[in-house]
Amino acid sequence: MRELHDKEKVSSLKTLTFTPTQRSHYLATKFGYDEWVLNRFIHFVPSAESLIEKMLEPVPKYIRTNTLKITSKELVARLVPKGFQLSATILADVFEVNASNARVSIGATIEYLLGYYYIQDITSCMAVEALDAQLSQRVLDMTSAPGGKTTLIAQKMHNTGSIVAVEASPRRIRPLSFNLARCGVMNTSIYQMDAMNCSNMNVRFDRILLDAPCSGEGMIWNDVSRRSGRNPDDIAKYSQVQKKLFATALQILKPGGILVYSTCSFAPEENELVVDSMLDRFNLKVEPLPFGNSGLTGFGEMVFRDNLELTARFYPHIHNSIGFYIARLRKTD
């Protein structure tokens, strides 16, 4: 193992914070954020104030048709008469749902119980789109519960090949298992284990999805308690864990295979910095994504590779989704 790169040393010391300003103080007080959080947003989010204001609105709800069981046309024909308004999105089988005229919630219909759709944010679907899983491949989902991305991978593979779904928490295995059953998934096996131990697996994978544990900054819209009470050290700690998981994944990825790295965090230390440090250590090609804003090539004193522009950032005020990050990397040796 080589010495830590300078940039990693920087990140391992502390999460980047900035000198408070009148603007950061005003916005933090007005919207109930810790000032260090908001001040960071000001330094890398396009139009940070619009982001904060957008996150005062109701969170959009998306459903994804489970094409293993039904077509989108058939699903729409069943849900619309029940009062659900479904709007098309840039992904063919994903719809934004307006349930204001519906008699039941979108999570309590017979169609939901029959596994005809899954409720998940559009960004989660995009991470699976980026994975580009093919029929009959072997795929690893390193943090799979509650199964939204796993069931979509199975759908993309038409229930062929093999998916290994790893989940560390025993408590989350049951909902994962139920969701796989509800969605009629046949090609998946569930392993309760720490994803850090995946490197011990004696098989290699064509595709790996690492939706890494993160600070969850991008979930502030869903969970206002995340606006405050957090510590900058949390981000640095997650960043270290993410790098370890990333390196673990690369050990069991086949040459030519694709790794998709994603987080629901805005923090560059959990996103571009992690990918950049992996590019130092492994032979990887960053591949372009057809959606989202360009990844950052710098943050404060940090400078990242230019090709990190090919990674994708998602912001609530721009993409009408939770905050999310996706990088698609191909192993070149």
Partner: protein, 177 residues
């Protein structure tokens, strides 16, 4: 342990699959059994050949593989919700009852079925018979057991079919997490 069915299990299962009308469908599936052959109860599941290979190659022990279609207990096979769906979709001449919309809603809360809610039953349905509960779209919404046979299943004012499994379990289980 996940393994292929023993010769004796295969005989029992084939007989059951025949009675549920999925014999032909199951012949084309990769089937595994979870649990030692001496266990009283064993899960039966279907998966893909590559998934089976992966499970065999990995040293780690999986919590779950593929889609559980039922349970083999005392030489008898009872479909799971996944199995009931397979039967409703691919089965021929399987035992079923078809219920009205109101009963559909009640079944999803685990409630038993009143005779007046039953719209249709399969031919020759006996007493204490396991059945697939279908809604008016002929989709499986659960597994039941008849209290009566034949026309008595339509008997008004009485529970005529017990609900053993229902799709609402997916939600109730999540709520209990």
């Amino acid at each position: 342990m996940f393994r292929s069915a023993t010769k004796s299990e295969l005989t029992q299962l084939r007989r059951a699959f025949d009675s549920w009308g999925i014999f032909e469908f199951m012949e084309s599936q990769v089937m595994l059994v979870k649990g030692d052959p001496t266990n009283r109860s064993r899960q039966v599941l279907i998966t893909t050949e590559p998934s089976k290979d992966t499970v065999n190659q990995l040293v780690e022990y999986p919590k779950r593989v593929g889609l559980i279609i039922g349970e083999l207990q005392n030489k008898k096979f009872t479909p799971s919700l996944g199995g009931a769906e397979v039967i409703a979709k691919f089965g021929r001449n399987f035992p079923y009852i078809l219920v009205n919309e109101m009963a559909e809603g009640l079944v999803l809360y685990g409630r038993d079925i009143l005779g007046e809610s039953v719209l249709e039953v399969s031919k020759g349905l006996g007493q204490n018979k396991k059945v697939i509960i279908l809604n008016q779209n002929r989709e499986s919404i659960g597994v039941g057991q008849t209290r009566f046979s034949g026309e008595n299943i339509f008997r008004k004012g009485e529970v005529t079919v017990y609900t053993l499994l229902d799709l609402g379990m997916y939600l109730r289980d999540q709520d209990n997490q």
